[in-house]
């Protein structure tokens, strides 16, 4: 009885999350990097010249991007040892399920990082905790979908090349720009208390990006596998 796309996606995601949760080192490492980064940025800027409220979204989304990249680096590393990927490919599940499962696991990983990073930003930059936090979480989740779609695919490709660690950021960053831009504009608009209609075009940009690239990367994934 062949598993459905949905159930096999969930099987793959659970497997990745189980492996991640077993060691936890990668998660903690990325978490430390993210919070450290937030603090470093604070010292890098003159807080008297630029208001913290204006700075916060920019810092948040830059850290989001780079901690996201770190999270994605580990994604396909786990399959390299023991040729575990062969086991997945020999089974009757859809190839797309492997991609979606890994993307889902990455999404939860990135979301977990953001769950700590966003309050850290709010704390260090004196944002009020409450509505602003919810806005940031929501936009971060939207942005994370696009980030993870691109990053999971490129991580799969890069892991088969010689320059894996260099290639993933080099290929992904141009794709992350519309995501980061949309997210940053949406959050700064909303945090400044402007009417939400102003933020809507940016949210539409994010949603459109997510849809287009989630589909495109899912369809492209089987082409990155050995024939």
């Amino acid at each position: 009885m062949r598993p459905t796309l949905l159930s096999s996606t969930w099987v793959i995601a659970r497997k990745d999350l189980a492996i991640e949760f077993r060691t936890r080192t990668a998660f903690l490492a990325v978490l430390v990097f993210a919070v450290l980064g937030v603090a470093v940025f604070y010292f890098a800027w003159d807080a008297t010249a630029v208001a913290a409220l204006d700075l916060a979204p920019g810092v948040l989304w830059v850290i989001f991007t780079f901690s996201g990249l770190l999270s994605l680096q580990r994604s396909f590393g786990v399959e390299q040892a023991e040729r575990a990927m062969d086991g997945l490919l020999l089974s009757p599940i859809d190839r797309e399920a492997i991609f979606l499962g890994k993307a889902l696991a990455n999404l939860l990983f990135v979301a977990g990082i953001q769950l700590v990073t966003i309050p850290a930003v709010a704390l260090l930059y004196n944002l009020s905790l409450g509505r602003p936090l919810l806005i940031l979480f929501g936009v971060a989740l939207l942005a994370a979908v696009g980030l993870v779609a691109i990053g999971t695919l490129f991580s799969a490709m890069a892991s088969n090349t010689r320059l894996a660690e260099l290639l993933l950021p080099m290929l992904s960053l141009p794709f992350f720009v519309p995501v980061v831009y949309g997210a940053a504009q949406a959050t700064s608009t909303l945090l400044a208390g402007r009417p939400s209609q102003e933020a809507w075009p940016f949210l539409k940009l994010l949603i459109a990006f997510d849809l287009v690239f989630l589909v495109a990367c899912t369809l492209a994934f089987p082409y990155t596998l050995e024939e």
Binding site: R2, S8, D86, L90
Partner: protein
């Protein structure tokens, strides 16, 4: 094809789920029992010896009770206990009507489960006989003759 960071049971359960096995729990316990690794079910794969890992690999491959099985040197790395477990499992599968192609250099182990035996050399089958028509005592000599002669 094992995940070193997962336990023995988790690896086999994963395989069962990937193949859409209906009763995952029961199938897993059965497979682990047949390969005599049930007692190490909660150990991480990375903590096991090579021989034990090999047994877990085989349990993983068999959990969904395949109708056709291709085995390439499955006895490599197995100790006597593991080899016995594998032979019993293969015999059981054969009894259930499954088809197997077993490639091995260990003639004794191969003959223990086979219904037919073939000698291959240089990509060609040199001889194919039914197991019952074979004289196992002399088979090793016959094999050496065939392969040595055809070189």
């Amino acid at each position: 094809m094992l995940y070193a960071a997962l336990t023995v049971r988790e690896n086999v359960v994963l395989a069962a789920r990937l193949y859409g096995v209906s009763d995952v729990r029961a199938a897993t316990e059965r497979a682990l029992h047949h390969m005599r690794v049930l007692d190490r079910g909660d150990a991480l794969v990375r903590a096991l010896s090579r021989g034990l890992q090999q047994r877990v690999s085989i349990a993983r491959a068999l959990v969904h009770e395949p109708r056709v099985l291709l085995l390439d040197e499955p006895y490599t790395g197995l100790d006597a206990l593991g080899a016995a477990a594998l032979t019993d499992t293969l015999a059981r599968l054969r009894g259930d009507g499954g088809t197997m192609v077993l490639v091995t250099h260990n003639i004794a182990q191969g003959l223990a489960v086979a219904t037919h035996a073939a000698v291959m050399h240089g990509g060609r089958v040199l001889r194919l006989v039914r197991r019952d028509d074979l004289d196992s005592a002399n088979y090793a000599d016959e094999y050496r003759e065939l392969v040595g002669g055809a070189a």
